[in-house]
Amino acid sequence: MIQLHDYPLSGNCFKVRFLLEQLDLEYQSILVDFYPGYEHKSPRFLDINPLGQLPAIVEGGEAVRDAQAILVYLATAYDKSGKWFPRDRQGEVYQWLAFADQLTGSISAARLHDAMFYRLDVGKARSDGIRLLRIIDEHLWFAEKDGHEWLLPLPHPTIGDVACFPYIALAEEGGIDLAPFSSVSRWMERFMRLKGFKPMPGMMPLPMPKETP
């Protein structure tokens, strides 16, 4: 069984949990006390991921680290439909996976500063995050105009959407107001209405009422 080294308040762990559940995979969640225990820097965890970052998965004795890499690994190994990581659109998907990594470096950093008292330049983290939000908002605005609902012009989300979603949805915990980004807000709402979506703390504390068909 897949073991996920997991932390409930981590957006990067959220995206892995989300895909595992979408793919109907059984997994064991091994909780790592990220804050205040800093267990991800402990020798036990550094054996699994020498970078000391969550999440990491272990399957059959092999570890895979990095949230985006895990999404690629799971979709490639287990998604028979090919929807989550479409073969003919890998370049576009990787573009959004890399974008998600930049969200981790900005919005997630601002959230670590505000919620877990990390020492870092929070002004820069927020302004970097807002710059990224403007870019993705513009992208989604044009996508909506062309009749598309997701980051790729496909009738379903991909791991690109999964990778970008959590830290955008958690932006207000890092002091970044999402009100100016109306296309992003609509995209988030679509994501939260996906079947099987389970919010994590700070995301949407209550289940969303279902839209009438």
Partner: protein
């Protein structure tokens, strides 16, 4: 007396919440079960948390913090901490609203949309960074564009390539500011 375009009607969907601005006032916009669109100040009268963080349950809006339920007139019809009793002397701040030309309009006084929204003569304030009020309508695309510069009314042309270039230029200017 000024009426403001605060959203596109088609963006205000059932069981959904839209955030916007009227001048410097944050707005929560929601469509109720009656089909009417409600535009309120985005502040809970209880503890000032934004109402847009709550849920649109159709017949009522539910605050995220203490679960107060507001009916479409803005009245508090249920307070969980009062064993579900109403508190009808308390209301949300409700603005006068109208729908015209596919836009949702609101006003602090009597809302009176007039003329065509396609003409650049109405202030269009749409969810904006506080320091950068948006004044944009992309009439041809039937969308409020999400990027704006204070006091600039931009009507991108019908050519999609050129429109994209114009809007990207606006974004770059915003980034530099």
């Amino acid at each position: 007396m000024t009426s403001y375009v605060v959203a596109l009607e088609k963006d205000v969907r059932d069981f959904s919440i839209v955030r916007s601005m009227m001048g410097d006032k944050p707005l929560v916009i929601w469509r109720g079960a009656s089909g009417a669109i409600n535009v309120w100040l985005d502040r809970c009268p209880h503890r000032s948390v934004r109402l847009s963080a709550g849920r649109n349950m159709g017949g009522y809006l539910e605050g995220v913090y203490h679960g107060w339920k507001f009916d479409e007139s803005g009245k508090v019809t249920q307070v969980p901490a009062l064993q579900g009793r109403p508190s009808e002397d308390i209301t949300a701040t409700v603005y006068s609203t109208a729908v015209a030309d596919g836009f949702v309009w609101a006003s602090e006084e009597e809302c009176a949309p007039s003329g065509s929204a396609g003409e650049p003569c109405y202030p269009v304030h749409i969810a904006a960074p506080v320091d950068q009020v948006r004044l944009h309508v992309d009439a041809s695309a039937n969308h409020l564009t999400p990027w704006g510069i204070d006091r600039t009314m931009v009507y991108p042309t019908g050519d999609p390539v050129q429109r994209r270039a114009e809007l990207s230029a606006i974004r770059r200017r915003l980034e530099e500011s």
